[in-house]
């Protein structure tokens, strides 16, 4: 199984680089379909953005680590930060879009987007931080 590792400073202006590298890795044969590459770009951006914000106050001089694992049947990307972690299930639900109060909430979409756009995601506490693992299934050769 091929692996690609990327280390970035905890800076938001590196997100475009992360999108480019991760999507390029996922486009290797057998490539994810273009629509799934779009899903991956957005999911990785959301997860990495959260990681950078959590990591920076704890370890500004250390990198956020992005690891891509290319198996025959799936593409997995892990994002490891040094942040204190969080409980994704404890996040408050946003008001329904038909509720005028929805417009009061400018944030809070990131985790739900990751869940919708990936085939599997886990948020795991590590001894020194948090690991978000996202998986997108790769098409079978006969597909």
């Amino acid at each position: 199984m091929a692996e690609i590792h990327l280390e970035i400073p905890p800076r938001l202006d590196y997100l475009a680089v992360v999108r480019l590298v991760v999507a390029s890795a996922a486009a290797l044969d057998p490539p994810l379909p273009e629509s799934r590459l779009d899903d991956l770009r957005l999911a990785v951006t959301e997860a990495c953005s959260n990681a950078i914000k959590a990591h920076r106050p704890e370890a500004e001089d250390e990198p956020v680590v992005i690891s891509c694992r290319l198996a025959d049947d799936r593409f997995q990307v892990d994002i490891r930060d040094r942040g204190p972690g969080f409980d994704p299930d404890a996040l408050s639900a946003l008001p329904d879009v038909a509720d005028p109060k929805r417009l009061q909430h400018e944030s809070g979409l990131g985790i739900s987007l990751i869940r919708v756009l990936t085939d599997d995601v886990t948020f795991a506490a590590a001894p020194d931080g948090t690991i978000v693992s996202m998986t997108l299934n790769r098409p079978s050769p006969s597909a």
């Binding site: 997100l15 475009a16 957005l42 038909a98 929805r102 417009l103 009061q104 909430h105 756009l117």
Partner: protein, 120 residues
């Protein structure tokens, strides 16, 4: 690619509506520039806005949040903010978040202004 926003002097004024044209990627790094431009316009009394996203090929949740905040501010001032977008990549993001029900999303600036004028 950088986010480029036409400044207020360069914006096209159509039927009283101001059109902002964004290009590039609206992610968490670029979104503050868009927020600053929109807030500045609305606070100056420009509350009927069209944001043209035809040159945008990526938007994340922070970019969406900027647009949510702007439409709230505009509507609170009896105005509105309409979006021009035909990019399926972006439309999918509006769809999966349900925000296609919050925003008026049309195919062209002309349509946005027509919708505005017709009050549809």
């Amino acid at each position: 690619m950088e986010l480029e926003i036409s400044d207020s002097d360069a914006s096209v004024d159509t039927h009283g509506w101001t059109v902002l044209t964004a290009t590039g990627e609206i992610d968490v790094a670029a979104a503050p520039g868009l927020r600053e431009q929109l807030v500045e316009l609305i606070e100056a009394g420009t509350t009927e806005l069209v944001v043209d996203l035809e040159g945008v090929d990526f938007i994340d949740s922070t970019g969406l949040g900027v647009l949510i905040g702007a439409v709230r501010r505009a509507r609170s001032a009896d105005g509105d903010l309409r979006l021009v977008c035909t990019n399926s990549r972006l439309l999918k993001v509006f769809d999966v978040t349900g925000l296609d029900e919050v925003f008026t999303i049309v195919d062209s600036v002309d349509d946005a202004v027509a919708v505005a004028v017709d009050g549809i």
